[in-house]
Amino acid sequence: MPYHEFEVSRCIPERKKHAVVKGPGETLADALPAGYLNTIPGSISERGCAYCGAKHVIGTPMKDVIHISHGPTGCTYDTWQTKRYISDNDNFQLKYTFATDMKEKHIVFGAEKILKQNMLEAFKAFPDIKRMTVYQTCASALIGDDIEAVAQEVMEELPGVDVFVCNSPGFRGPSQSGGHHTICIAWFENKVGTVEPEITSDYVINYVGEYNIQGDQEVMQDYFNTMGIQILSTFTGNGSYDGLRAMHKAHLNVLECARSSEYLCNELRVKYGIPRLDIDGFGFEPLGNSLRKIGLFFGIEDRAEKIIDEETARWKPELDWYKHRLQGKKVCLWPGGSKLWHWANVIHEEMGVDVVSVYTKFGHQGDMEKGIARVEEGALAIDDPNELEGLEAMYNLKPDIIFTGKRPGEVAKKIRVPYLNAHAYHNGPYKGFEGWVRFARDIYNGIYSPIHELAKIDISRDAISTEGGFKTQRMISDVNLPDEVKNDPSMRQYTGAYDSLARLRGKTYPVFERTGDKQVAVEMATAE
């Protein structure tokens, strides 16, 4: 598996160790890109900082919490206009963002006083919210403010409130991934085990590494509820603060994004003996197998099978419609971390696209192992790319679409490559059976956008045809399809609702008799 040297990065020779091509017959033991290293000076990469990774990725999706950054206001930039980790409490954590607004004078004289003032004011402004997280930033870390001491004072002054402090300044690690690690360990050490939950089912899980992007968590929650499984906590999308303090009482940790939160599952396994089951919530087959495995663990596999049968019957004809039209389309799968391996194989198998490149902004070598293992031969794998490398890859690979974040996505559009937002999605949720069809629809809409066809024409160079009218998506996508596929009545385009979550909120679920209840009843009868 040879390393790949970008022309544009010849002046940065260290970069050569960060990209490989998966060659025929080669294995992970032949070559692996370097990863989770400091970005090389001179390489303008696309990473976030460790503060961002702790707060904006992991901490803030917690829904019933005041999240305060102890630093300049600019550190709180990522809120409802950029993040899409929604919640079922009217998106409190997205609608309101808090910062202590540190200024130069605070750097000189200290900022503990304004921190305390801000915390008290925030609790006063939102009297129904009794939980708070406080995030150290570069500024407050460098002057050494004792945030824990201030938090303790506030908790003593305001009985009933609880505060979590996360010391993950921007410079603590090479990327946002350092912040994921820090907050996981801090939460485990300081908060897990401080609340005793009410157990309402024989089957109790923590759903870990799930951030409810456009409702992903709520889709999976629906499946778990239908199976009679109690979700004690979700780390952290749509999750509650106190639920996450009770993680120690779960029977199983169901882990989605291992990149961001495997640390927590590993610690829960070591200290509390809770097993870690890694799952894939994306794609019909991986999701079906994941539900089956959880069902098998608890001895309720029949409940999983029922969901899989119903959902497959409902949505598979729609997935197949898109698969025929996406066959052979070239994709650059360029997300931040875990989606490079969550999606690498299943979009090829279930949507027919060819993944010609994978990259990760902040993944570790373990993520590259998973991603490279799952792509087909010939794919280019890049760690922590810079903008010029991304451009060079697109010019060489000529993808039909790329899945990435909004910043590199806009760069791609400039060279007329359509992109889908892999982090926050275009029209999600993408998890679940219906969600997977929504993803396929978004890919189809991206590749076959009539506007995009027009954008490909360079009016300074290309002749503009005056013949032929405006082409619709179907005229473009179906041009080479055989009639039996075009006219196959068993397949159809997406027929779900604009808001696929509406039907889930307020839904009632079957009540299953608990084995524990039976035992209690027998014991009570015996005692009487």
Partner: protein, 117 residues
């Protein structure tokens, strides 16, 4: 015959690498345990040597992945249902060794030996 068995082992391995995640836990000691336990359970399930759900939760989690693996193998690779007991044992042994090499002893992942999570 050896070549056939090797090809078959590679088919099973390719399935694990493309469809599973359990072999890529973050540390070498985790991968050693995961590979040993899950391939071990898969072998016992193939041989019909396990007919009860393991009571210990950690064991059960490994067993779940082993059962899932065998189900997928039986569906994708019908030849596996024709193997004799000795052939299954030999196949699992070579698969385990190869998986250990790719994910652990031969892995180029520099984080595997980090002493902390």
């Amino acid at each position: 015959m050896e070549q056939v068995m090797n090809q078959r082992m590679e088919q099973l391995l390719d399935h694990i690498m493309k469809k599973c995640l359990w072999q890529f836990h973050s540390r070498a000691w985790d991968r050693e345990r995961q590979n040993r336990e899950i391939i071990g359970w898969a072998g016992r399930v193939l041989l019909g040597e396990c007919d009860a759900t393991p009571p210990d939760p950690l064991d059960r989690c490994h067993w779940v992945d082993g059962v899932a693996l065998v189900r997928a193998w039986r569906e994708r690779f019908p030849w596996i249902n024709t193997l004799a007991v000795d052939e299954i044992r030999a196949l699992m042994e070579s698969l385990h060794a190869r998986l250990d090499f790719l994910t652990r002893t031969g892995s180029l992942n520099a984080e595997l030996t980090d002493p902390h999570y």
